[in-house]
């Protein structure tokens, strides 16, 4: 009981994830600034933002469902932290693993998007409503390619458990090369999930002021921002576990270092893409996801099935 509480609240639970998320946000913002040839924020910036938002007045708009409005940030945070426990990080087994946890992780990572939608929907603001409608529209575009991209390696390994998946690839590292296309697809879909440029259509500041979070202030906004940061870490951990599962048998210290390097690499990729491209329109985004990403993801699944038939049957 005591160790379970420490695991949930301190390491590798809430506290570790909060620190990692804030550090991840800093690295993302700093790299983005350096790519734009400017200094960027100091290292404590995400922490200062977080504390300031915690200490600010929180306003609930008239006509909003008070319970729903207040609960949604907590739901988002809970879902992303829970998903983290089922992902193998520096060993070949996750903290909690069972057959089928890959589906559970993907499902838990969908919940935050729905909380953004519900939170925006109940704010009774036109901008928030537009933002939440865009959030859901975008969800239907990137979710299918993401699921298909993760399905490929799972089919190859013949398991729905992330821990067994990493064991399989640990034994046959060359099989990872077959999933290179899947990695790119999953990374692009993750950009959509995190609402980063070029898929920041739901919160497009220059068009619809703040998207689904237009009416959020104070503590609730702080929880939402933290859940975004932790979602970045969780999503990057998922990609690292599914597509980059090498060097997992090194023990805690070296394994943990390698895990941090993988996460840093993925965050740097996200920052690079963010500074390279501009925002797409919602129809362009959906067209791209369904006409390019989904067919390539299907192709990836077929390739994996053929490989499985040839080598692992």
């Amino acid at each position: 009981m005591g160790t379970a509480l420490i695991q949930i609240l301190v390491f590798p639970g809430l506290l570790f994830l909060a620190v990692a998320g804030l550090a991840g946000e800093f690295i993302d913002r700093r790299l983005y600034a350096r790519f734009q040839n400017r200094m960027g924020p100091p290292w404590f910036q995400p922490l200062a933002d977080f504390i300031k938002l915690l200490s600010k007045e929180e306003l609930v708009p008239d006509g909003a469902d008070r319970g729903l409005f207040r609960l949604m940030p907590v739901f988002a945070l809970t879902a992303v932290v829970t998903a983290f426990f089922y992902i193998p990080l520096w060993g070949t087994s996750a903290l909690h693993a069972f057959s089928g946890d890959a589906i559970v992780v993907l499902y838990l990572l969908t919940i935050p998007t729905f909380t953004y939608f519900l939170g925006g929907y109940t704010s009774k603001s036109v901008y928030a409503l537009l933002g939440s409608a865009r959030t859901l529209t975008q969800l239907y575009a990137y979710e299918v390619p993401l699921f298909l991209a993760v399905l490929g390696p799972c089919l190859l390994a013949g398991t729905w458990s992330l821990s067994e998946l990493t064991l399989f690839f640990q034994a046959r590292p060359w099989a990872l090369a077959a999933n290179a296309a899947g990695f790119v697809i999953a990374l692009i879909a993750l950009l959509g999930k995190l609402e980063k440029v070029p898929f920041d259509i739901p919160e497009a500041e220059t068009e619809i002021v703040g998207g689904a979070f237009t009416e959020y202030s104070g503590r609730f906004l702080a929880w939402f921002r933290l859940s975004f940061d932790i979602e970045m870490i969780t999503g990057a951990s998922l990609l690292a576990a599914v597509f980059l599962p090498f060097g997992l048998g090194l023990g805690f210290a070296a394994g943990f270092g390698l895990y941090l390097v993988k996460i840093l690499f993925l965050i740097a990729l996200i920052a690079l893409i963010r500074s390279l491209v501009a925002r797409l329109r919602i129809d362009q985004m959906i067209g791209f996801c369904w006409k390019v990403l989904a067919p390539v993801a299907f192709l990836q699944v077929i390739v994996n099935l053929v490989l499985k038939g040839i080598f692992f049957s």
């Binding site: 200094m39 200490s55 929180e58």
Partner: protein, 151 residues
Amino acid sequence: MGAIQRIVQWSRVKSPWVIHFNSGACNGCDIEIVASLTPRYDLERFGVLLKGTPRHADVLLASGPVTRQIEDRLLRIYEQMAEPKFVVAVGTCACTGGVFQGLYNVKGGIDRILPVSAYIPGCPVTPNAIIDGVVKLLASLENPPKKASAG
């Protein structure tokens, strides 16, 4: 001042999010405000971020004299901001009404309507002056100026 209050104060000084509102300016100051947020001046160094919605913002950068038509809107935007909030009057017109003072449709400077924390004069203000003004406002939060003795 307790430790927690000190941390909160520090976080407020380090993370001012601004919202930009044109209360009837000729657009000169607005262009300079937008220019000061470009990578060239890099206001993110001080934690300044431009926010689209008043709910997220701490500092209201208001430019221009208050016209009778904009008065209600300006008040409404101010009311929508979460406490603690600050108003910065950007430009000579925002400080006093400038050349528009005394017009039938102009109320005067921002301080006729809202409590103003910092005045940045200039026609138009340069980005350097805006940054200087915001940094001075933040410094005054850290070390509040002593109240002038009566008399």
